[in-house]
């Protein structure tokens, strides 16, 4: 499993009899990639685990609403991103402010057995976490996943020019923040 083309998976998903096997194919093909995508956004493994499970349940329930006007991969990334950002918004609301959320997040990461980074890596993650949603998304897609602007544009529904500007701002902010730290 995991080697099927998106077209084969879609065909199985739209057929009532093959829907479950189509979903298994989809899960097998995209589970890891989507997990890492979500993890880069939320940082904490337990949060990423919650988001990814909720996301798959949503995908399973709404798979018949997938019209095929965007690619399967784009559709899944969009759902995963929205779920991740919605969890962060919830956490920020619960913490009371963005700063309080970042502080909690850093404390959690320092003690997290699933974060293997040194102080510098945590600093970078914290700076990325503090970016506005769109800048953070573009930065993660470019920096971690090496996606082209065209691909990011399809996922985020934003123009390539706009994405370039967002990435430029994100890079500058990170650079400035790192210079301030060191």
């Amino acid at each position: 499993m995991g080697n099927q083309s998106d077209e084969e998976i879609i065909q199985a998903l739209v057929s009532r009899r093959q829907r479950d096997s189509g979903f298994r194919m989809l899960l097998s093909k995209y589970n890891e990639r989507l997990y890492w995508h979500v993890r880069k956004i939320v940082g904490i493994h337990e949060d990423a685990d919650d988001v990814i499970q909720n996301m798959w349940v949503k995908v399973y329930k709404n798979v018949d609403k997938f019209k095929g006007d965007s690619g399967l991969y784009t559709w899944l990334y969009r759902i995963a991103t929205n779920e991740s950002l919605s969890l962060i918004r919830k956490r920020k609301k619960h913490a009371g402010s963005d700063e309080a959320y970042l502080e909690d997040w850093c404390d959690h990461m320092k003690a997290d057995p699933y974060f293997d980074g040194e102080e510098a890596a945590l600093t970078l993650e914290r700076i990325v976490m503090s970016l506005p949603d769109k800048q953070k998304q573009v930065f993660l897609y470019k920096y971690y996943e090496n996606l082209s602007y065209d691909e990011i544009s399809k996922i985020m529904g934003t123009s390539v020019g706009g994405l370039k500007a967002q990435f430029h701002h994100a890079k500058n902010k990170i650079q400035l923040a790192l210079e301030k730290e060191y």
């Binding site: 298994r24 890492w36 493994h45 499970q53 798959w56 349940v57 293997d116």
Partner: protein
């Protein structure tokens, strides 16, 4: 599209066998959940409620409305029929009286009406 994760930049780790467990968890929450049947029931629930309400209203209407039309039709049927029969008899008698009056014109009219009504 580059599908390889950039591991060098990734300082995040995961528990052992995490993805196998994640897949099993997702399958147990989706494919292996009888949510289809439950969701069908959930979809049909409002229709059942509407059907039950209609039945209840029908029953209430039947119980409340039934005695009125039955009595009404019985009275409506019997009273006018008797009155009409009485009227017919009176008219027949008066026609017979007119028939004996000696006036040819009136007698002809009375005969005509008697024949017409086929008493």
């Amino acid at each position: 599209m580059d599908t390889n994760q950039n591991i060098d930049k990734n300082k995040f780790k995961i528990p052992e066998n995490y993805f196998a467990e994640l897949e099993a968890n997702v399958i147990s929450k989706t494919i292996n959940t009888p949510s289809e049947n439950r969701s069908r029931l959930r979809i049909l629930r409002p229709y059942f409620a509407v059907a039950a309400s209609i039945c209840l209203l029908g029953l209430i209407w039947f119980l409340l409305a039934k005695p009125i039309p039955v009595n009404y039709t019985a009275e409506a049927k019997s009273e006018p029929t008797e009155q009409l029969a009485e009227l017919d008899a009176a008219l027949y008698e008066s026609l017979l009286t007119i028939g004996d009056s000696g006036d040819e014109t009136l007698e002809a009219i009375a005969d005509f009406l008697i024949e017409l009504e086929d008493f």
